[in-house]
Structure formats: C-alpha cells, structure tokens
Amino acid sequence: MALLHIAEPGQSPLPHQVKRAVGIDLGTTNSLVATVRGGRAAVLPDESGAVMLPSVVNYTQPGAPLVGAHALALAAQHPADTLMSVKRFMGRGSEDARSDAQRSHYHLAEGSEGLVRFVTACGELSPVEVSADILRVLHLRAVATLGGDIDGAVITVPAYFDEAQRQATKDAATLAGLRVLRLLNEPTAAAVAYGLDSAEQGVIAVYDLGGGTFDVSILRLHKGVFEVLATGGDTALGGDDFDAILANWVLQQSGTPALEPGQYRQLQAAARAAKERLSAALEVDLDLHGVLPSGGVIRVTRQIFESLILPLVKRTLRSCRRCLRDAGLEAGIDNIVMVGGSTRVPFVREAVADFFQRQPLIDIDPDQVVALGAAIQADILVGNRPEGDLLLLDVIPLSLGIETMGGLVEKIVPRNTTIPVSRAQEFTTFKDGQTALALHIVQGEREMVSDCRSLAHFELRGIPPMVAGAARIRVTFQVDADGLLNVAAREEITGSQANVTVKPSFGLSDEQIAGMLQASFSHAATDKLARQLAEQRLAAWQLLESLKSALAVDGDALLNLEESEVIGAQMTALQALLDGTDANAIRVQTERLGRQSEAFATRRMDRSIYQALAGVALDTLDEKVSP
C-alpha cells in the first residue's frame, strides 16, 4: 500500500518533529514546570530566573488573580484573599476541611453540596479553580520558553492522594488548558529522575516530605521497568506542620495570647525562615519586632527545634515501616531518594538514614526532582522516545470497596494493587422481588463504611423480580493508569447494566468544567471555530499517523486484501478532508476510520503478546534463569 502524504506544514505537526511536553509538580508550597531538551530534563525559570512558583494566589483585584511571589507578599495584608497550601483542600468536602480552613484563616462558603469554596474579594472559588490559576501561570511560562503550544503534560500528585483528590487535580489541569497525558505519583517521578541517570537495578525507597504531604514508596527497578511495590504516607503532614509547631512554641514562649490572622501568617513566615536557617546553623535568633505586638527576640536552638518536630518525624517513619512490610521484600533497600524541601532538615535526613541503615541520595535538588521525573515521563508519553526506554508500573494507594449489609465494606481492589486493574465481584439481592440495587463505592482501609471515604452512589435498575439471593449482580471495578476508577454493574441473568465513571462527590462534573472552560476563553467566535478545526485536524492526523506506522509493520500479516483496501480508502478520504476546513466532516470521518480499524488494533494487541513471548527463550538465558 502506498504511503500517504501529509501536507500543510505549519498546520499539522511534522511527522518527526519533537513534541513539546512538560512535567508539572503542583506542590502545596511551590510549583514547578520542567521539560526534556536535548535529552536532558531541566526546570524552566520565569523571566526573573526563579524556577519555583510559590503556590499562592491573591484574589483582591477582580479578574486579575496574582500568582506566586507577588501574591505571597500580600499574604499578611490580605489573609483571607490570599490562598496558600490550597492543595490540602483539593477534592475534600467542606465539613472535612473546616478545621484546616480555620487554621489558615480562610472563609469557606456555606452549603453548596459539600464543596469547598473559599470566599474572597473576587467571589467564591473552589480549590480546583485556584489550582488552575497556578497551573495557568506555569502553562504560559512553558509556552513562552518552548516557543509554542504544549502537546501534553504530566502532572504529579502525592501517591497517597485518593480518587477525589486525583480527579480534582486533573480537573484543574484541564481548566488551565493543559492536555493531561498522565497523573504521576510524586515518589515515582522522583525515582524516575534518579533512575535514568544511574540506570541501575535494585530496590529504591522514596521518602517525600513536602510542604503539606508525606509520601513513601518502595520501588523495584529492573531493566528500565519501575515496579511500585508499595506506597503509603500521610496526606496531612508536611513542612508546614514544622512551621506551625515552631510558631506555636514561639507564641507560648512570648506569652502572647491570640493573634490576628495576618499576624499569625507573619509569625508562621518567621518560623519558616528560622527553620530554614537552622538547617545550617545550630541556633538562630527569631526577631519578633513587627511580627508580634510584644516584639522581642527569641532564641531557637536546633536541639529545641528537633525536639518539637520529633513526633512528626516519627509519624513518617511509622509510615515507612508499614510500607516496607507491604512491599514484602526479602532483601533490604539499595537506595533512598529524598524528595521535598523538608528533607533539607538535617534531623530528617539523619532519622531516615538511621531507619533504613543507608545514606540517602541527595544529588538532585529535592525541590526539583519530582518535576524533572515528570518531564521525563511526559517526554516518553508524548512519543519523543519511540524506543520507550522506561515503563512505570504503579499501584493504587487505598483499597476500593463497596458497602454491604450493616454498613460494612467489602474490599474489591486492595491497596498496593498494580494498575491498571480490573476486578469483579458478585453480589445478590437481599429481599424477595427486589428490582433495584443501590451501590455505594468507598475508598479506605477500615471495615466500616462510616470510616472510609465515600466516592460515589449509583443504582442498578431493572433487575427482574426474583426470590432473595437469586439474582447475580456482577460489579466490576476498573482503575486506569492514572488511578482513576470506573465501576460497572451488570445483572447476569437479564443483562441489565449500570455504569459510572466515578466523579467523586466533591469533584466537578464534566459540564461544570466545560462551563468554566467556556467562561475562561475570551476568544471571539471565529477563534473558537479555528481552534476546533485545529483540534480535529490534530486528532485526524494522530490517527492517520498511528495507523500508517501500524500498517507498515503489521498490515500485510494481519489484514486480508479486502480489509486493507477498506481501511486504505477511509484513510484517503480522511486525508482529503484535511485539506478542507470542515471540522465536523473531519470529526465524522476520523470516528469512522477509528471504528473501521478496531479489529486491526485488537489483532495487533494479541500479536504483541506473542511477540513479547517469542523472545522469551533468549531473554531467559540472558537472565540465567533455570528452565
């Protein structure tokens, strides 16, 4: 079959052009964007040379949110309108978040279906919208630095993030106009950043203590395949807590009763500065003039600071121990990777080295390592490394289950199961003549539903009336490579079905996102049409490209003459449409070609299993495995 020719340079990407892909670390305290250029991952600085963007947004000027250092500077002046550490509120219900909000002096809106909404001078805002404002700045920085639209982004999340928190993160990225290639767990990203440099084999522990979250993961690296063995952590423990505990101690020492929100912010900032200086110095003097009404100077020794944070550090080590056990290792850890600014605290490093009996790796800046790893993964996913020298096999952090009689949880997918995963379980009716079944999906490790996180409710209807226990309802949980869940229920006898993509109770619906996107685009109608056309062309081009390379390899072997003629004709038709400007016609033909080539795709997939195993005998010799 003749190769098709793609015209229109500049309108559609050139076949072998390097695509622009970025990795974004959306952090509690700081956010970063990185990319791979010339084979090396590097973080992108802003015009002033700063790479870290403080994850702070100030909403005092309607329509013009201030993001980053400028916003941070306004935090003391406008505590309720300057939102910091918003990551802590992602995907959480307002009841759940109220105490955290009080501590941060934010005003939460009442009501509104349990969604967290901050009340600011610019109106009510969700954590997703605030995060989108942060991501938008990084997106713009990437476009400006790389000189064009970004083809795809990998956004990192703490491994311990639950379904709702992951979905909220993905929503924020979509809202910021980014095409999300993958959500990647932060510890895994860090391991990737180290793993590619050293190309070694062995077991790696990643200790990630950021501003607001703690994560630990145990991975096995084997010939470019990263297998996450276990992951654990604490979504509400981080360097911010070090600052808070030190600030409270200072407050106690100074005998000051209560503080205004703005003053507390200042005190916390002073505590943070003291903490950072204590990484190098053995003692520092904390000047409280202009911070506390009483003024004065308080001396903090490293010893005092260490005794204050000891309980917090111990909590992290407890998670490490649990994670090690979950990993079920026979031998010890070969390497420890340190991630997050809080691992600069010498006491933390010592405690970790002591626990794992090994000195941690600190060659890569702990603040940048996650973004760098994400950039490498983005580079691979976007197709810049066709040889694909790396594969990540990640796990789900929390068990997924379903509510059964008496408020108990039946676990269907236990935590630390490798994703993607598909698991089914059968249930039955408990009343005679029952025609509907309500399903309640939960996430967590506890036995009672009330102690777990509620993800979604849905109903399977149309069960034929039968005696109790006769119906056979098969519930299938499928978790994709992003760790996002899809649940399907099916009555086996009649085949009645119900399906739900779990949009957690606190997430946003697709319509809400679409609405927000619409609102955020101030394009004229013609711009919108041009955009649609560009998007449809890109989708068509991608399908044509992937089919062409697939046909070149497997076309002769897997398709008969007739089939290959049908596909060829559809491809030519789509190709012809690409010269025109009818976005709708391109979309329709892209879909038609997609359907036409489904059988071919399935055959290819089956064949790749054989191809993978065909080399097995050789491979086995290679690894000196006895037959």
Binding site: G152, L181, R182, H222, K223, V225, E227, K314, R318, R321, R322, R325, I380, L381, V382, G383, G388, L391, L392, L393, T417, T418, I419, P420, V421, S422, R423, Q478, D480, A481, Q542, L543, S546, G594, R595, S597, E598, A601, T602, M605, D606, S608, I609, Q611, A612, L613, G615, V616, D619, T620, E623, V625, S626, P627
Partner: protein, 181 residues
C-alpha cells in the same frame, strides 16, 4: 488466540506449563516483557479504542501475574482450572487436629500483647506458621500432581487459614511497634 483465551488460562499468557511449581524469576521477567508491550503508557498517542484495549490487556496481565506469583493464589487458581468452584473448595472437610492446632495458635497470638517480650514470642510464632505453610505447599503439590483434587483442596483451605493468621500476626507486630514510640 485472543483476550478471552488468555483470560481462560493465565499460564498460557506467560507461556508457562500449568503446574504448581513456577519459577518466579522467569514469571517476573515475562510479566515485565508483556507490560512493556501492552501497558497503556505505550498507547498514549493511539486511538481511544486502542487505549481502552491497552487498559484491558494490561489489567489482565497484572491480574494473571498477581494470581500466579503467590503460592496460595496459584494453588487456588490451579484448582479452579480443574473445574472446582470456590464454594466446593471452601466446603472441604478439615481434620479436627488441624483445627485445634489452629485455634491454639490463634489464642497465643491474641494473648501476645500482655507478655514481657512479645516480639521474640511473635517471631517464633511467625516462623512456626510459615513452616506449616511450606509443609502444606508440599502436600498440595504432591496431591495435585497425582490428580487427587480433594486432598489438594483441603491443603489449600488450610493454607488460607494460616495465611490469615500470618496477616493477623503482622497487624499485632505493627501495633507493638507503634506502642514503643
């Protein structure tokens, strides 16, 4: 062969003989090889249909690997391949001697937290249970190889009991460790 065929027999997926004895290193190598081909990350730029397909295949490979990697799940799977249902496996007669020994082990576990040196006692107990599991694996392999499914199933059920005990022992150990802090 297609997805459905591989679903029917996990051993075939890894090109391994249907047997209780599995070389886990070899299994791991083939698992990684398959994931290198089938994982959704390999299809990030492909059509939506191919992406869905990749999720299904990759999930199947994960499931098969998880099932075959551990002796207990592998044994249960072998019995299922012979046509035995989960229910009939669970309904196997267990001899009284085993049940009594099992209860004694459980009592020891439960009284652990009052002891002066619970860690040492717990360590011994874990070794004891693990040794029993190894014995049962031998019994299963023997019975299965000669096609005596009922004794094989009963060895399986016993392994399940002991596996549960082992998990409880781990929980107690983690509680003991937490208390020390």
């Amino acid at each position: 062969m297609s997805l459905a065929d591989f679903q029917r027999n996990y051993f075939q997926l890894f090109d391994l003989p249907v047997d209780f004895a599995v070389d886990v290193t070899q299994l791991g190598a083939r698992y990684r090889k398959l994931q290198r081909e089938l994982h959704p990350d390999r299809y990030a730029g492909a059509s939506a249909y191919e992406q869905r397909l990749a999720v299904q295949y990759s999930a199947l490979v994960n499931e098969a690997y998880t099932t075959l990697r551990k002796p207990l799940t592998r044994a249960l799977y072998l019995l299922e391949l012979t046509g035995m249902s989960r229910e009939s496996i669970a309904a196997q007669q267990i001899d009284g001697g085993f049940l009594i020994a099992q209860m004694e082990l459980r009592e020891k576990l439960e009284s652990m937290e009052g002891l002066i040196d619970p860690e040492t006692v717990l360590d011994h107990l874990v070794v004891e249970i693990s040794d029993d599991i190894t014995d049962l694996q031998g019994q299963f392999a023997q019975a299965y190889s000669v096609g005596e499914l009922s004794p094989a199933a009963s060895a399986c059920v016993k392994m399940q009991y002991l596996d549960k005990l082992l998990q409880e022992a781990e929980q107690i150990e983690s509680r003991l460790l937490d208390r020390q802090e």
